[in-house]
């Protein structure tokens, strides 16, 4: 498949079934790899400071399911979550992967990076002699990787781990690496965004990114733009409380300044999303999530973030 067609498939708004993209990815990648004799993507996955929700989100991928991603798309060489090896043997596997696949592997980082106290708030591996902090590991692996992918909002921008008062001095991966980081943000990530980004990396290299480093394939438009309840907004019909069927702007919805394709991508085998559940979008893909979104149920103009001038975050619409 040509890149142009793939891009179209990722950003299509309407289809017979909402999982056209994820259903299509596996055959496209398999076909591509067969024709060009390309190997799977070597991936090193580093878990740092987060809730572990992004590896759970990844387990929730459907069409392709997790086993198919392992089979056809990636060689997951190191992952604290999935690997069978443990202890010093796991560390050995990591070191070997870095030396053998230097300049070829994709580094996936899940979680924010604490920087205070030399990063001691997150130690990824301890040896008899020393502690390897997330800060050290991400710098070591980051300079050896072909591409760096931050999965989830903590790894992308700091996220809930870096929420005020941020006593661990946590930051996103981009702030500790002097290179391009592909930010696949979300709390958690939607598995389609992540698997779609992997497919793009495998077939066409780095995808086109927005100014926050996110693939335009999935983050080009605001939630508000394609929201099923947009007509309520345009007609000024607002929900009076959670559970109502009208526009959730009155209940704190962040849709107007949040970029993602949730309204038509949907979640967990594409069954629902927060607004369909009669609650507001809380802007979990944003650079300033969660501080820019709280109080969650207060309308956007009255949120705490709006009171402080100079706060990070963009106004899209």
């Amino acid at each position: 498949m040509e890149k142009k067609e793939f891009t179209k498939l990722c950003s299509q708004l309407k289809s017979e079934e909402p999982h056209d993209l994820s259903k299509a990815i596996l055959p496209i990648v398999a076909d591509y790899r067969r024709k060009r004799r390309k190997k799977k993507l070597p991936v090193i996955w580093l878990e740092t400071n987060d809730s572990g929700d992004n590896n759970i989100a990844f387990m929730n991928t459907t069409y392709p399911y997790l086993g198919e991603v392992f089979q056809e798309m990636i060689d997951l060489l190191y992952s604290n979550t999935f690997m069978a090896a443990q202890g010093p043997e796991a560390l050995y596997i990591l070191e070997e992967a870095v030396s053998k696949k230097r300049g070829k592997f994709i580094l996936v980082v899940e979680g924010a990076i604490p920087t205070k106290d030399n990063g001691l708030y997150n130690i990824v591996i301890q040896t008899p002699n020393r502690s390897i902090t997330a800060l050290e590991a991400v710098r070591w692996l980051g300079q050896a990787a072909k591409h760096v992918v931050a999965i989830g909002t903590c790894a992308s921008f700091g996220g809930p781990t870096a929420a005020r008062p941020n006593i661990t001095g946590s930051v996103g991966v981009r702030d500790v690496l002097d290179r391009q980081v592909i930010n696949v943000s979300g709390c958690p990530v939607n598995p389609d965004w992540f698997v779609g980004t992997l497919a793009h990396l495998l077939m066409y290299g780095e995808p086109e990114l927005d100014k926050l480093g996110r693939p335009l394939l999935f983050y080009e438009f605001t939630v508000h733009r394609h929201c099923q309840r947009r007509s309520y907004f345009d007609n000024q019909e607002f929900a009076e409380e959670l559970g109502d069927i009208e526009c959730m702007f009155s209940q704190g919805c962040m849709g107007p300044r949040t970029s993602s394709d949730c309204p038509y991508r949907l979640w967990i085998n594409h069954v629902s999303w927060p607004v369909k559940a009669n609650t507001p979008c809380i802007g979990c893909t944003n650079e300033d999530f969660p501080d820019g979104s709280t109080p969650f149920f207060t309308p956007l103009p009255k949120k705490s973030s709006q009171k402080k001038p100079g706060q990070k975050g963009e106004e899209n619409e």
């Binding site: 878990e47 987060d50 809730s51 572990g52 929700d53 590896n55 759970i56 387990m59 929730n60 399911y65 997790l66 086993g67 060489l77 992952s79 604290n80 979550t81 999935f82 690997m83 069978a84 090896a85 443990q86 202890g87 043997e89 796991a90 596997i93 604490p114 106290d117 001691l120 708030y121 997150n122 130690i123 990824v124 591996i125 301890q126 040896t127 008899p128 008062p165 006593i167 661990t168 946590s170 709390c187 958690p188 959670l242 559970g243 979640w267 967990i268 085998n269 069954v271 629902s272 999303w273 607004v275 559940a277 009669n278 609650t279 809380i282 969660p290 709280t294 109080p295 969650f296 149920f297």
Partner: protein, 467 residues
């Protein structure tokens, strides 16, 4: 033979990051220092936020047991706002919580624990497995490997039940204070039932027989990783207009005496944890990663001065559904048994759920400024406790199941349950060390993302919880 100090790190296949230092002498574990190496300071993050932010914010403590935090935060807010829960809200909430338990338990057994007993295919992410004590015959082994990948789908479908009602998972949106924001429509109920039938079939045809097979082939693990029988549960599946009834009752079991848990007896100790008693305005504590005697971010939580084990095994024993010991294999077995029981309960609840508008009734103003919410989460007893000033949080405490099971030594040198399970273990051959330790540790279903918690030194928990 002289004493050897061995570092087991990283302990993979769990949520978060975990290490343990072991002292080995004459092939026996003499001492264990279990170490959670990540700290996020979540209680500080909750400060000065609106009370009703608690459900969505605290779910982000943990990705694998997300809704347990959302649920207990909802119970806490229900008490503060004096909500009345409709019957439909009660059923729907428990269906959603049950679905999150199913995905957790299925994922734990297959994705995390199975490679401790089954020879996985030698390709990523299973390469370099070095299972030094593989005992299954090739046919059984192959079948269980196939079930690993079927479990991927069954756990995804469990999460799909949650997302059908909750909008997404992890970190669902509709289970909030005052009820549930989603209408349980006939089509949703039927979709959920159909998904549940797939999951139930998997549990009956794969999880239960696979658990029995592993328990039979590795039956020596009924004698390995045994903990002192001190068990604690707060109860699970809250019903009633005021969340006042627990379907599975809580209890404290010690010396064959079962008593009701009194929250006021819960205390924490920071002797070996990376905290210092400094002048911190709210908590009277500061993290100190350089503390020489510290070895973990988990504090030593004690009930009436003693360490207690929590988890599915404890719930099953206290509720008379499992009659066994407190070993590695008992913990594994009880978790599978609980999974089966939850699928049966969920089917019943889904049939009792009446199609209706969203079962939600939220009040505007809190009538109580301080409350404590409890439930059992997937891994055991969970407490959220909060104090408000107006409608803003001035103090928020979380004590997770991980803090009970993975507790370090306290000022009296008492070990926590995991350390107790490790100490005394005999390692038959040196190359089996990590295999044996890994099996024992994973039977507790470690989740270190949950290890983030604080309890202030001066103040204690509210002792008003009715259990």
């Amino acid at each position: 033979m002289s004493k050897q100090k061995i570092m087991f790190s990283p302990i993979t296949r769990l949520s978060g990051l975990l290490s343990t230092e072991i002292i080995l002498e004459n092939n026996q574990v003499r001492e264990a220092n279990i170490s959670s190496t990540m700290f996020r300071g979540y209680e500080w993050i909750m400060l000065n936020r609106h009370a009703t932010d608690a459900v969505y914010m605290t779910q982000r403590i943990c990705g694998i047991c997300s809704l347990a935090h959302g649920a207990v935060a909802s119970y806490l807010l229900d008490e503060m706002y004096d909500h009345d829960l409709s019957e439909n809200a009660q059923y729907l909430r428990n269906i959603m919580l049950g679905a999150d338990f199913l995905q957790n338990h299925i994922r734990h057994f297959y994705l995390f624990s199975l490679p401790d007993f089954v020879q996985m295919p030698d390709k990523p992410p299973f390469h370099g497995q070095s299972l030094t004590d593989a005992r299954l015959n090739p046919q059984d082994n192959q079948r269980l490997v196939e079930h690993y990948f079927e479990a991927v789908k069954a756990s995804q479908e469990s999460h799909q039940i949650l997302a059908l009602f909750g909008g997404k998972a992890p970190h669902q949106h509709s289970f909030v204070h005052g009820g549930v924001t989603v209408a349980p429509t006939a089509d949703k109920i039927n979709q959920a039932l159909s998904l549940l039938r797939n999951v139930s079939e998997f549990v009956q045809k794969c999880l239960m027989p696979d658990t029995e097979l592993i328990a039979r082939v590795y039956n020596d693990y009924f004698q390995i990783g045994v903990t002192p029988c001190r068990l604690l549960s707060f109860g699970l599946f809250r019903f009633g207009e005021k969340n006042e009834k627990f379907l599975w009752k809580g209890g404290v079991l010690e010396d064959n005496q079962l008593t009701f848990p009194q929250i006021g007896l819960v205390k924490e100790d920071i002797t070996r944890a990376w905290y210092e008693k400094e002048k911190c305005e709210v908590y009277g504590l500061e993290p100190d990663p350089y503390k020489p005697e510290g070895y973990t971010w988990v504090k030593a939580v004690r009930y009436d001065g003693k360490p207690f084990e929590v988890g599915p095994l404890v719930r099953m024993i206290i509720n008379g559904k499992y009659n066994g010991g407190t070993s590695t294999m008992d913990r594994i077995f009880a978790r599978s048994l609980e999974t089966l029981l939850i699928t049966e309960l969920m089917e019943k609840w889904l049939k009792q759920l009446q199609p209706s508008p969203p079962p939600l009734n939220q009040k505007e103003i809190p009538v109580k400024s301080s409350a404590t919410g409890v439930t059992d989460a997937m891994r055991g007893a969970l407490i959220h406790s909060a104090t408000l000033e107006g409608e803003e949080v001035s103090r928020y405490n979380v004590i997770t199941p991980t803090v009970w099971n993975f507790s370090p030594k306290d000022q009296y040198g008492q070990r926590g349950p995991v350390e107790n399970a490790l100490v005394g273990t005999i390692i038959p051959r040196p190359e089996m060390l990590f295999t044996v330790l890994g099996r024992i540790i994973r039977s507790f279903d470690p989740c270190m993302a949950c290890a983030t918690h604080i309890l202030d030194c001066q103040g204690n928990l509210q002792d008003k919880v009715v259990i």
